[in-house]
Structure formats: C-alpha cells, structure tokens
C-alpha cells in the first residue's frame, strides 16, 4: 500500500472504528458507559486524526494536481458491472472532507460538554462517528453507488439522531418524517442512477463525466432532473423541505452538524460533482434556480414569525440552502460550494450558540425545581429569554459574529459568498436561456437577503438584548436569573473557533474585480475559484467591473437596511410588541407565514391522509384477509408437511439403513436405466 492509500483508508476507517468501539463496548458493558471521558476522547480523536490527514492532503495538493484514486477493494462484480470501494481525492472532495471533519470535530468537542449528563452518551457518540463515516463516504466516493451508500448512511444517522430522545413520541415521529421525505428523494436518485448506468455502463464519476455524449439529450435532462429531486430531499428544498424544521427535535449539536453544516449540503455537493452534466441541460438549471430562489424566500418569511430559537435557525438553514441551489442553477458551482463552506461555519456556530442558550435555560428550570418551585416553560422559546448577553458573554459575542456573518455585512464570511451568488444570478440573466426569469430571481435573492438580515437580528436582539423576560412572564420564577451562567469551556472553545472562521472564512473567495479594477488587468485573488476551476463547470462571469461594483453596493445596502430595520424594531428586546406590529402591517401575509404556508397541512391532506385512509379501509383488510390468509395457509401446509416428514425420523437405526438402501437403489436406477 502506498501512503495515499494508507492515509485515505485511515480517514475512512477511523470514524468507523470509533463507532464500533464506542457502540460495541457500550452495548456490551455497562461500566464502559460510565467512562464518559474515555468515550468522548475516542470519538473526538477518530474525527480529529482524519481532519489532520485531510489537511496534509490539502497542503500537498495543488490546484492543478490530478485526482488521486484510491481503490480499496472490488465490492460488486457481476458480468460487466463492477463497483469498487474506491475513493477519489480531488480539490472538491478534499474541500468537503475538510469541512466535514473540521466542523465535525468542533461539534464533537462541543458535544462532550453538551451531552455530558445524558444517559445515552456512548450511543450518541457512536451515532455521531457513524455519521462522519457515512458522510466521508459520500464526499470521497469515486462512484455514484458508493456515494449513494453514504447518502443512505447519513440519512440513517439523521433518523437515529433526530429521534435520539426516543421516549418522546414527537421526536420519533420527527425522525420518521425526515426518513420518509428523504425516501421520496432517494427514489428519484436511484432512478437517475439506473438511467446513467443504462447509457454509460458505469457509475464511476470520471467515466460518466467523460462519456456524457453517450447520453441522449432527453435522458440527460431526466438524469439531471431526477438527481436534483434526490437533492431536494436531502438538502430540504421545495417541495420536500418540511422535514428539516421538525428535525430540530434532535440534540442541538446534531442540528448543527447534520442539519446545518454537512448532511443537508450533500445535494449541493452532488450537483457540483456532476456539474459538467447539469450545464448541458439549461432547463434543469433553470428549474434548480427557481426552486432555490423560491425556497429561499418562503423559508425566510416563515423564519420571521417563529419564536422557537432553533426553528428560526432551521428555517434560516432551509433559506440559505435555497441560496445555494440558486447559485447552482445560475451556473455558479464554486459560489455554491463557497456558501456551503461559509454557511457551515456560521450556521454551526449559530446552532451551537443556541444550544448554549438552551443549556442555560434548562439549568434555570432545574435550578428552580431544586428551589421547590414547580415552573415549566419551553427552554427554546425566545419569548422567555432576553437580556442574556450579561450572563453569557462568550455565547453572545460569538452568536453576534455569526449573525453579522449570515446577514451579509462585509467583510465577514457570509457577505462574500452571498454576494457572489447574487452576482452570478444577475450574470445568468445574460446567459441566453430564460434571461428575464433570472433577473426576477435576482430580485427575489435581494429581497431574501434583506429578510435574512432582518430575522436574524430579530432573533439575536430578542434573545440577548433587553431584560430577562422569564421572571415577568411567570411570577413564580422571580430571581431565576441567578441560575443563568455561561456554558463550560469545552463548549465555548468551539464557539470561538467557529467565530474566528466566520470572520475570516469569506477571504477564501474575494471577488477578482476588487483588485483588477485598480490594476486594470486580470487578477486571480478568488482562492476558491483557483482551487475548484478544474472540477466544476462554472458559467463565465461576463459582467463589467462597474456592474459588479453596483451589485456589491446594492447587497451591502440591503443587508445594512435589514439590520437597521431590525434594530429599530427589536433592538430593545421588545419582541412580542414588534411582532404584533408586523402582524398588523402585513395582515393575511403574516398569517400565511406564521402558518408556514400550511404546507404540512397540504401534504397531510393531499398525500398522507388519503394514503392512511385507503390503507386503513382497503389495504389493511386485503392484507389481513387475503395476504395473511395466503401466507398462513402456505405456512400451515409447509408445517404440516414438516410434521409428517419428521415421523420418518424414527430413531430406529435399521429404518435409517433401509432409507439408505432405498437411496442406493434410486441412484443406481437413475444412472443405469
């Protein structure tokens, strides 16, 4: 084995090892479950070492380096169909690996403190490591089937972790919901894979991408379209996004890792990986852009009205994912990946920060219980919060950094990535296909940018500014603020690290025109473009420098406008009063947003209810009477034969010998006659 093979196997195998060790030992030994420091160390190391290896690969890989293929073994070989357990290390997969292991490691570290008192500590880390393993398979696979394996693996882990506190039925239901919505997408993805195999005869990325001309244009459309449907499931886009807000039932670090930073971006990764095929069907590109923009604005308007701190973040995630799809649909694959990276930083930070807040609020509840006060409140509801910045300075500062970053204020991470997406959408308005539509989408993007800045600052102000509202809401909880305290170091260190990344992350993708306007020649200061240009098939950016300057100015104004409006309305922490004003101003619209466009009810009525009804009235009877009847009859007959034949087994040796002789006669007669 050469060193690349060894190191790649280590990246993949270590998280699996962590899963096996923590899972099997935890399963078999009760005393092991109590050794939380050991469990945490194992889980953290098995993610940190792969991260270190990924950094090593990253340092040794140039922007023009050829991909490294690592073939571990042949998995399936039937006729001409062959699938290897093989990995591909190129600029794109290294980028994703760095994000998955790096952010993953920080979240593992955070979870050590966050989950410390949970009974299922060992199980939690076993699942978390399994998730990292599956996710690494997804991003490093060199063929679609292995990617799909990782894709299903992360889906499984997501299901397990959403329903981690499974004794509460609502959590289990949320897990199932996520699973079912993903199945719809997965089915489309499978069909896309079949179609690909039918035309290309292989599922390896390099073979598919180098033999695209073998696929007829129509089928190219269908493959791309179905893959996109698969992506809408995993990456929570319209029409399949409703599972993600419910997925917040899981522990907060899970929301940060799986439902913000990594798993939900796998759809974007898939489309970037196959970008050479997607650009060949502009219709699909258009559909992707439309769905992305729609999702972005729909989720942003819902986020305005939510009071559950994690739900706001969940809708914000859906909305930001929508941005990424808008980027993909506008041919800005690099910009989409750029937003994946920056979003991983600031959204993971936001979730971890909200976890820190929830943690503190739960301690308040516990503290009150210990005082003998029977006070119950929802520790995630921001209407009970307010004024937390005094008590939780680290959490406040880092949360504020992340909020500024996501709002798109320069020069923090979110600004550059969002600005690039909007510039490319505008650019796609001159690309020759559905030009006016892309202009509209650009407008939608701008509005969403305003909304994002607004609702994120509403959340931050409502949580951290003003007075602590719990005592005034519930009179018994007077003096509850003395139970408020900052979270432990193992939780604040990841917060600050992610905070730092949210500040500087944007410099990965500083637009080229910022420099070339002054030097009057072509510049390449966009590091991410330099890094990915070989892998993704981006559209040419054909805008003049002055247009780019104008676009950038517009997005700065919009973001600042959003922040200012939020400050005017919510800066004092008067959340509910200002919400009431909003509701007045927007009337029916606000109601619609608050009801989440009634999408859940719509699906319930259109799909779930009819199926349940039909299953209950028709299929259940059919199943019980006919299917079970047939099965039971067959089973009964088989058992009957079995119980008759068993009497042949008399236990008498001479009858055995007789059977033997009969057998001899049978064989002889068959051969001779």
């Amino acid at each position: 084995m050469d060193s690349a093979t060894t190191l790649t196997s280590l990246i993949i195998a270590l998280p699996l090892l962590g899963f096996l060790v923590n899972g099997l030992l935890g399963l078999s030994s009760k005393s092991f479950r109590q050794r939380k420091a050991l469990i945490g160390t194992i889980a953290n190391l098995t993610v940190f070492i792969p991260f270190a290896i990924a950094v090593y690969f990253f340092i040794n890989m140039g922007q023009d380096s050829a991909p490294i293929f690592v073939e571990l073994f042949t998995w399936i070989e039937v006729g001409s169909f062959s699938v290897d357990i093989a990995y591909q290390l190129d600029q794109l997969s290294i980028l994703m690996t760095l994000v998955v292991t790096g952010v993953g490691f920080l979240i593992h570290m955070y979870s050590v403190g966050y989950m410390w008192e949970d009974e299922g500590y060992w199980k939690f880390f076993a699942y978390l490591n399994l998730f990292i393993f599956a996710m690494l398979n997804l991003v490093m696979a060199d063929n679609l089937l292995l990617l799909f394996l990782g894709w299903e693996g992360v889906g499984l882990c997501s299901y397990l972790l959403i329903g981690f506190w499974y004794t509460d039925m609502a959590n289990s239901a949320a897990g199932s919901k996520a699973f079912w919505y993903n199945r719809v997408g997965d089915f489309a993805f499978l069909v896309a894979m079949f179609l690909t195999f039918q035309h290309v005869g292989s599922l390896d990325f390099d073979i598919i991408l180098s033999s695209l001309e073998a696929i007829p244009a129509d089928d190219k459309f269908w493959i791309a379209f179905l893959m996109f449907i698969g992506a809408t499931g995993k990456s929570a886009q319209i029409p399949l996004f409703v599972w993600l807000p419910d997925a917040m039932a899981g522990p907060t670090s899970v929301s940060a890792l799986i439902h913000a930073a990594t798993m939900v971006t796998s759809g974007i990764y898939l489309i970037s990986r196959m970008s050479a095929m997607f650009v060949m069907s502009p219709e699909v590109m258009m559909i992707i852009a439309v769905i992305g923009a729609l999702t972005a604005i729909v989720a942003a308007t819902i986020a305005l009205t939510q009071n559950d701190i994690k739900r706001v973040l969940a809708y914000s995630t859906v909305s930001q994912l929508g941005y990424m799809f808008l980027a993909l649909g506008s041919g800005a694959f690099t910009a989409a990946m750029f937003h994946v990276v920056t979003h991983a930083f600031f959204k993971a930070l936001l979730f971890l920060g909200s976890g820190s807040v929830i943690h503190a609020m739960e301690h308040v509840e516990h503290g009150l219980h210990e005082e003998g006060k029977d006070v119950h409140f929802d520790p995630q509801d921001m209407r009970f919060m307010g004024g937390l910045k005094e008590y939780m300075p680290s959490t406040y500062k880092t949360f504020l950094i992340a909020t500024i970053a996501i709002a798109g204020i320069p020069p923090l991470a979110g600004f550059f990535s969002k600005d690039e997406i909007l510039a490319f959408t505008f650019n796609a308005g001159f690309a020759g296909f559905a030009e006016p539509l892309y202009m509209v989408l650009w407008g939608v993007g701008i509005v969403t940018a305003f909304l994002t800045a607004f609702y994120m600052f509403r959340l931050t102000f409502g949580t951290f500014n003003g007075e602590f509202k719990l005592p005034e809401k519930i009179s018994e909880a007077a003096g509850a603020e003395k139970h408020l305290h900052e979270s432990p170091k193992s939780m604040t260190i990841p917060l600050w690290t992610l905070g730092g990344l949210s500040v500087v992350g944007g410099f990965l993708g500083v637009p080229n025109f910022l420099l070339s306007t002054f030097t009057h020649q072509e510049e390449h200061i966009n590091l991410l473009h330099n890094w990915l240009y070989n892998v993704t098939a981006d559209y040419e950016l054909g805008l003049s420098h002055s247009v780019e300057w104008i676009l950038m100015t517009v997005s700065i104004f919009v973001a600042v406008g959003g922040v200012y409006t939020a400050y005017r309305m919510y800066g004092s922490g008067a959340t509910e009063e200002s919400d009431a004003k909003l509701a007045d101003r927007f009337g029916v619209f606000y109601e619609t947003w608050k009801e989440k466009y009634s999408l859940d009810e719509f699906y319930e009525g259109l799909v779930v209810h009819p199926i349940v009804r039909w299953s209950d009235k028709g299929l259940a009877k059919f199943d019980m009477k006919i299917v079970d009847g047939v099965v039971n009859t067959v089973g009964g007959v088989v058992r009957l034969f079995g119980s008759v034949f068993r009497y042949v087994q008399t236990g008498v040796t001479s009858s055995y010998a007789l059977a033997l002789v009969l057998g001899v006669i049978l064989v002889l007669s068959m051969l001779i006659l």
């Binding site: 399963l27 070989e77 079995g642 087994q649 040796t653 059977a659 033997l660 049978l666």
Partner: protein, 483 residues
C-alpha cells in the same frame, strides 16, 4: 531429494498428524490439558498459515501422484483447518464448563483433521478411502466422548453402524471402478471412463458414499441424532470441517474423474439436491431443539451446495468452494453461541422455547447469534448471502432454472426457523430469571472474530471469489482438453 518435496507438499497434514501423536503421548504420561491445548492450537494455526500460502502457490502432485497440492486442495485444506482451529478455540471453555475436558478430544480432533487434509488433497481412490476412514473413525469416537451419557453413546453407535454400512458401498464402488478401468488414479480412471455397467455402477456407489458423508437426503438420517447427541462444539466441527472435506473431495472426484458425458451424474445430483433442500428445510421448521434445527439446516445447506455441483461449470465449482467457507464461518459461530447458552444451569437451553428474553440478558451473545442466523438465512450484507447468490447465479447460467427456483423457495422457507430463535430472544419476555454465566475472553473473541468475518466477506468478497475462480480458468481448460 524427492521425499522432501513430497513432505513439503503435504506439510500441513504432516504437522497436524504429528501433533496428534504427540498430544496422545503427553496425555498418556502427564495429563496436562494446557500444553495439549496449546500444541493443538499452534499446529492448526501453523497448518492454516501454510495452506493459505499454498493457495497462492503452484499446483502439482506429490507422493507418486497420490496427492495434489495448491489450488482447490489448498483451499480445501484451509477451510478444514480454519474450521478445526475455531472449533478448538471454543471447545476448551465449553468442555471444561460441562466438566468433560479430556486430552484425547484434542488428539482425536487432530488426527481426524489430518484425515480430512488427506481427503481434500487426494488424487487416488485409496487416498480418498484412507482419508474418509481416518476422519470418520475419529468422529465416531468424538460423538460419544462423554462417557456414560446415554444420548452420546446412542449418537456414537448409530453413527458408527450407518457409517460402516455406507463405507461398504463406497469401497465396493471403488473396486468396481478399478475393475472397469484398471487404475485407482482419478485422472487415469477418467481416461478409461466408458458407459459400460461396471463403470457406471462403480461411480454410482462412490457417489452414495459421498452423499452419506455430506448428509444428503435420503442418506441423511444419522445427522440429527448424531448432531444432537455430540457435545456442541464437536458438532460444530463435524458440521463444518468434515462436511467441507467431504464436499471438496466430491467436487474433485466429479470434476476430475467422472466425465459428465459417460454418466448422467448431473441428473442424479439434481434430484438429490432437490430432495435435500426440500426435506432439510421442511423438517427444520418443526424442530424445537436448536441443535436438531441446526442439523436439518446443515442438511439444507448440503442441498444448496449440491446445486452448485449439479451446475458442473467452473462457476458452479468456485461458488461451491466459496459457500463452504461461508458455511464454515457462520455455522461454527451459531453452534458456538448455542454452546454458550447450553452450559447455563437451570433450564435446557437447547430448547428454543427457553430462548425467551435471552437477547437482552447478554446483549453481545444475542447480537452474535443474530449475525450468524441472518447470515445462514442469506441476508446481505452477510457472507451467507454472497455464497447463496453465487450458487444461484451459477445454476441459472448453467441452465438449471428449476433448481434455482427451488433453491430460492427453500431459502424463503428457511427464514422461518432461522428467525424463530431471534423472535424468542428479543420479542418475548423471559419467563424465569436465570442468571447467565459470563463467557471467557477467548471464547467471546473467537465468536466476535467469526461475526466480523461474516460481515467482512459479505462485503469484500471480490478478492476471494476471484482467487477461487482462478483455480478453474487456465488449468481447467487444459485439464478438460488434455484428457
């Protein structure tokens, strides 16, 4: 220095046989079980490593053509030694737990293994006969190793009587074949093959002898009684190592000695395969004793293996070899967990009805048994699935559609009895609180390794399958054309 080459070619057998003799001597003078056990494990391990290396080496003949080495023989030796080694590893704790650890268990096991190694390397009918008898006589004794136990004595005596009876057919068949062709060497017999009565009757009786050893229906009647009466870890050895040895020998005889065109043996094997699959699975369904259930299951698996042989193609043969390995791993594992439960006091833990709630008491053992049973059913990603799939594909490619369909239906029926212990273990409340003894570290880790192997070869089976197929590529063609 020809004899050095010869000994080197049969080195695993020589090591194991010598170890058998040394352990008898130690047992006679010192009665030191520790060193006997250590020597047994060491010699089996050494033999296993040598055989595995031999698989990648050249193919040839030794001892004036009596035996062959490399290729199929080396793989057969590896499977036999693998089975013997893992059975020994789980035997010590089990036998001392039931208070019947005797030194001669190991000696007999080693000598039986040496006989199996001769059997899988045989290139001559006499060698086959010596191999089978060395193996069988040791097994007769092992079946009744627990002195004074009625059920063991019954098993041993039945096995011996019926075994002797079947050996008569085997030897008569060999004599007829010698009469027909004038040779005892497999390849020379193939050259002298004809369709006259003498030859065909000889071949038929030879087949009968093998059918008995692999417990094909209707020559299977001894199996449940013997498997039930024998100490469980020894049963595991009988069910895996001895069956694998017999199957490899049958495969060698069919592929080398009896050309399909002179005798319609594929038809016979087809009928026997159907009978074996159907009867094995049907009767397994109604068993309440888990050892008897596993005995019928092993009969059913013999049926699946015969399907691969009936196909008679290189693909079928390599599938059979793969299946033997898969079968060995998962069966030792299943018998191992049964042995663990069986040594518990208080209830008869060979009765499946007493498995209620056990899965939660010792979670590791429950999970392990589930692994092995799932693998026996043939559910991916376990190795049993791959084995069954390969045989299924070989049967279809060779045109035996009916066989393939029956195989699929029989496997479907088998789900019932394999899942039944799991249903009892996980879905029923324990009726009485029986404390379970903790198993030793060697015992446990042996089973964990086996479980890991069922998973590993269920996923990464490509390399092994390619290796097995390579035995039948170049050599196979020259062999057929050259004769």
């Amino acid at each position: 220095m020809d004899y050095l080459h010869d000994i080197n070619a049969f080195l695993p057998g020589v090591i194991v046989a010598l170890a058998g003799l040394v352990t008898i001597t130690i047992d006679a003078y010192k009665n030191d079980h520790g060193s006997i056990y250590g020597l047994t494990v060491f010699s089996l391990l050494a033999g296993l490593i040598l055989s595995v290396m031999d698989m990648f080496g050249p193919v040839g003949e030794a001892f004036t053509g009596m035996i062959t080495y490399g290729g199929v023989s080396a793989f057969g030796s590896s499977v036999v030694l693998f089975g013997a080694l893992f059975c020994v590893l789980i035997s010590r704790e089990y036998l001392s737990a039931i208070d019947h650890e005797y030194g001669e268990v190991y000696s007999l096991l080693l000598i039986a293994t040496a006989g199996m190694l001769g059997l899988v390397s045989a290139n001559n009918l006499i060698m086959i006969f010596i191999g089978i008898e060395t193996m069988s006589i040791c097994l007769y004794v092992l079946a009744g190793i627990i002195k004074g136990q009625k059920i063991g004595a019954e098993a041993s005596l039945k096995y011996f009587l019926l075994g002797a009876f079947s050996t008569g057919f085997l030897l008569y068949g060999m004599a007829l074949l010698y009469g027909a062709t004038g040779s005892l060497y497999l390849t020379e017999i193939a050259e002298g093959a004809s369709s006259d009565l003498l030859f065909i009757a000889g071949a038929a009786l030879l087949l009968v002898g093998f059918f008995f050893k692999v417990s094909a229906v209707p020559f299977h009647m001894w199996t449940p009684d013997v498997y039930q009466g024998t100490p469980t870890t020894i049963t595991a050895y009988m069910a895996t190592a001895s069956k694998s040895a017999a199957f490899v020998a049958l495969l060698i005889v069919l592929s080398k000695m009896i050309p399909a065109e002179t005798a319609n043996w594929a038809g016979v094997i087809e009928v026997i395969a159907i009978l074996t699959m159907v009867m094995g699975n049907l009767i397994a369904i109604v068993q309440d004793n888990i050892k008897r259930m596993l005995a019928y299951s092993s009969i059913a698996h013999a049926g699946y293996l015969l399907v691969g042989l009936a196909a008679g193609t290189p693909e079928g043969y390599s599938a059979v070899l793969f299946y033997l390995f898969a079968y060995t791993i998962m069966n030792i594992g299943a018998f191992g967990v049964v042995a663990y439960y069986e040594r518990q006091q208080g209830l008869d833990f060979t009765d499946i009805n007493n498995y209620v709630g056990l899965g939660f008491k010792k979670p590791l053992m429950g999970v392990l048994l589930s692994f092995f049973l799932f693998s026996l059913v043939g559910i991916p990603p376990f190795v049993g699935f791959v084995g069954k799939y390969l045989i299924f594909a070989a049967a279809i490619n060779a045109g035996y559609i009916a066989l393939a369909v029956i195989l699929a239906l029989a496997s479907a029926a088998s789900v019932y009895y394999y899942l039944r212990p799991m249903v009892y273990m996980y879905f029923k409340d324990p009726h009485k609180d029986v404390p379970l003894v903790r198993s030793g570290i060697v015992f446990r880790s042996t089973l964990v390794v086996l479980a890991a192997l069922t998973l590993y070869f269920g996923i990464a089976f490509g390399d092994l399958h390619n290796l097995l197929s390579s035995f039948y590529t170049a050599d196979w063609v020259t062999h057929l054309v050259g004769q």
